[in-house]
């Protein structure tokens, strides 16, 4: 990584910038979304772009993509100045986007996705798709990205990181000069993230520039030649070389020194609340999971994507049935079998799911109705819901959790990611939790909201609730957990206490070795 970085840094210093933004300004009624922003992009440069939600990153990206027009400023491409870009101009200039939410057709193969809408044709007016030609065109792109799958692979069989490679291949097929990766690693586990960073280095080596947007700062440190920090629409810093470090970025992003004080003395002496004994999931029916969750501790659960962590959470919460021959789950000394999620909820075992928008919330429902949904009977008399009781409860939650919304009657879809996650938490905090499983609790959430969620998790564990935190974010796993269990292919490969808990140890266990 460092070698290629220095090599390309040398190359980019000599090259002329092909894209130059100067004095870009965009206001929405009452709000300055972007203020006099200027930057240059040279061939083969990797630029990290960081900032909290609402800092102006999306506005900048939309201007580059030709989706919105800036109020002032110019965009100069190869010496030609434009007041704004159209989508077609942006594409013609070789700017390609890989969004956080992938836009792939998982029922089609890789090649079909890469050339979607631009398929090579044969037999004239019949317009049949020339599959041979298509696959031959896609193969070299995949080779260039070091992909191990073939153009004929069905996208549904690929991992998330591999799917991102398909998106990047699509960008390459358009002869892109600048690939913008929007939160590419937020859903990737450690090993796959490494792979993606290698792909970025490969793009750079081919002279393709990359803008890398991420909330995961240590990846930004690893990947970027230069880091641009935005806050409230303003460019607050450009970091290069040794200045690219975690603390500097955080300080610039939040405008103050944010000591993330979620690290507190490790406590592992509490009573066992939830004991998982020889549980098998249907994904790994031959492997048994043993794990104890203690009161007062946050147990981190690390591992690669596909290690079976989410599957375990789903079994514990009664969403999936365990595999045949599965052992037992003991809650407060009593053996429990959750055939449905409602049984788990009644017993006080809750899950904050990985897919916040799809599974955690009903986005079209008002905030209040989301909060009361799991426990609606508590706000009802003779089975009729009392709206007053419901709103009173939700209003209390809004204040307690500092959910930033004008009122709890607002649709949940209007909230930012961090506030949506607080609503998910509010659902469970309004009840009596015994154990809460957090699956990737801070994915795609900005630094400030992250810290608040960690504080809430800590408060829960202090109150004697068993907390299991599944996370692929190394910083988070190490910083938040009192103890870390690492899963590998359906079983617990090892458990680390605070003293042993390092990135290296977690990685070794995650790939199936021992420490």
């Amino acid at each position: 990584m460092t070698m290629s970085a220095t090599a390309a840094a040398g190359a980019s210093a000599s090259a002329e910038p092909f894209l130059r933004l100067s004095g870009l300004r965009k206001t929405y009624p009452g709000v300055l979304a972007l203020a006099d922003f200027s930057m240059e992009v040279r061939p083969g440069e990797v630029i990290g772009l960081v900032g909290e939600n609402g800092a102006g990153k999306s506005t900048l990206m939309k201007i580059l993509g030709g989706v919105i027009e800036p109020d002032h400023g110019t965009i100069t491409i190869d010496g030609v100045a434009h007041p704004s870009l159209s989508v077609a101009q942006s594409m013609a200039a070789g700017i390609a986007f890989v969004h956080q939410e992938l836009n792939l057709f998982d029922n089609l193969d890789v090649a079909a996705n890469v050339y979607m809408g631009r398929e090579p044709r044969k037999l004239g007016f019949l317009k049949l798709v020339d599959d041979d030609k298509l696959h031959k065109a896609v193969q070299p792109l995949l080779d260039r990205l070091g992909a191990t799958f073939s153009p004929g692979t069905q996208v549904s069989r690929l991992s998330l990181a591999q799917q991102q490679i398909v998106e990047i291949a699509k960008a390459l097929s358009l002869r892109s000069r600048l690939v913008i990766l929007d939160e590419p690693t937020s859903s990737l586990p450690i090993a796959e993230t490494e792979k993606l960073l290698e792909v970025i280095a490969g793009l750079k080596a081919h002279g393709i520039s990359v803008i890398f947007i991420s909330h995961r700062l240590h990846e930004v440190v690893q990947a970027s030649d230069r880091v641009i920090v935005l806050r409230d629409g303003n460019l607050v810093g450009t970091l290069e070389g040794d200045d690219i470090n975690h603390d500097t970025m955080v300080r610039l992003m939040v405008g103050r020194d944010l000591k993330v004080d979620y690290v507190s003395p490790a406590r592992t002496d509490g009573a066992v609340v939830l004991s998982i004994r020889k549980v098998r999931t249907s994904t790994y029916p031959d492997h048994e999971i043993d794990l104890d969750l203690r009161a007062g501790e946050i147990l981190g659960l690390a591992g690669l994507v596909g290690a079976g962590r989410t599957e375990l959470a789903r079994v514990l919460f009664g969403i999936d049935r365990p595999a045949a021959g599965s052992g037992s789950v003991v809650l407060d000394g009593r053996e429990v079998h959750f055939a449905t999620s409602s049984a788990a909820v009644e017993a006080g075992v809750f899950l904050v799911p990985e897919d916040r928008k799809g599974a955690g919330l009903l986005l079209d429902f008002p905030i209040a109705q989301n909060i009361t949904l799991p426990n609606l009977h508590a706000y009802a008399r003779r089975r009729l819901v009392s709206r007053d009781a419901e709103f009173a409860r939700a209003e209390r939650s809004r204040v307690e959790l500092d959910i930033r919304a004008p009122d709890v009657g607002q649709r949940t879809s209007a909230l930012s990611g961090g506030n949506q996650q607080k609503v998910v938490l509010a659902k469970w905090l309004a009840m009596q939790p015994r154990a809460i499983i957090f699956d990737e609790p801070t994915r795609g959430i900005d630094v400030g909201a992250k810290a608040e969620i960690y504080r809430l998790m800590r408060a829960l564990s202090d109150a004697g609730v068993a907390v299991l935190m599944i996370s692929s974010d190394m910083e988070e796993v190490i910083g938040v957990s009192d103890r870390v269990a690492v899963m590998h292919e359906g079983h617990i490969q090892g458990t680390l206490d605070r003293a042993q808990c390092s990135e290296e140890n977690i990685l070794r266990l995650a790939v199936g070795r021992s420490i």
Binding site: V31, A55, G56, T59, S341, L362, F365, A414, S416
Partner: protein, 347 residues
Amino acid sequence: MLKKDLGLLTLIIVVGAVVAIINPRFLSPINIANTANLVGLFGIFAIGQGFVIITGGIDLSVGSIIALLGVIFIDLIANHEVWWPLAAVLVLGLGVVMGLVHGLLITRLKLQPFVVTLCGLLIYRGIARFYTKDATAGFPFGVNFPDLEWITTGRTDIVSLITGGTVQSIPIPHAFFIMLVIAVIMWFVLHRSVFGRYLYAVGKNEEAARYSGIRTTQVIIAAYVISATLAALSAIFFAMYTRSILPSGHGNFYELYAIAAAVLGGFSLRGGEGSIVGVVLGTVLLQVLQNLVNLLGIPSSLNFAVMGTVILIGVIADQQFQVHRQRAAARKGRQNSPGKSVAEAAG
């Protein structure tokens, strides 16, 4: 009342006014009573269909249930001399069982609602025809059920009843009253009860509902039971209304009337949207249109074409209004809380 419902009510009044101007017989007491009777008959099972549609499902078996259970009901009371309240309970019980089977097949075996209830449509229709050997089921000469007939096909002039006969008004068919009672009960169930909230949650996003600890399978099964049971109830009403049932034709396309009423009433076939007031008003509009075809001398063969056209226009208008409203709301939102909405847009 939602804005959507108000729009539909306006449409009904406008259509009604136009028809009344062209043909004043539209407002004659006998025509109003007859139309109200049909609204009652169709409204009962359309409400049931609404519950299923809210879960994102569909019940195509309604028309065939009305035929089969109607045939059975007449056979029980006319030929087997079963006491009619007992026969009614039996028929309603059969409706519950049918709904339960639909619901179980859909939730436990994960079959698609369209397929399950399409099979129901074919199976029940086939059994109904076999049951009567394709003959018309009816009452033998001279067989009467005064109580049952009073309940199902009777009419009462409320005003006259209250004033002791001094003031006369229109006699209202009992089917319409019963539909209203069901509508009020179901309004509370859907819009105020815990179960109703669960229905909307399951229809909007079943996964999220499950992750909130809702027993989604039970909620879905209950919706199909409600639909089939209300279809069974209207089977009794239709049987007494027509008094003879040709099993190959009785109730044909009724499921589509119900679906049309729901769609007109603002239900989304994707689930999670709709209201009781909406589906009742949708039923009213459909019957007013039927009436319009008759009163304006439009060839009755054009009946379906007129209905289809009006539904299409209604749905297009609604869509346009919604786009307009969303834009207006977005504009308003930006003015009220600029920081909020733009921070999100930019975030």
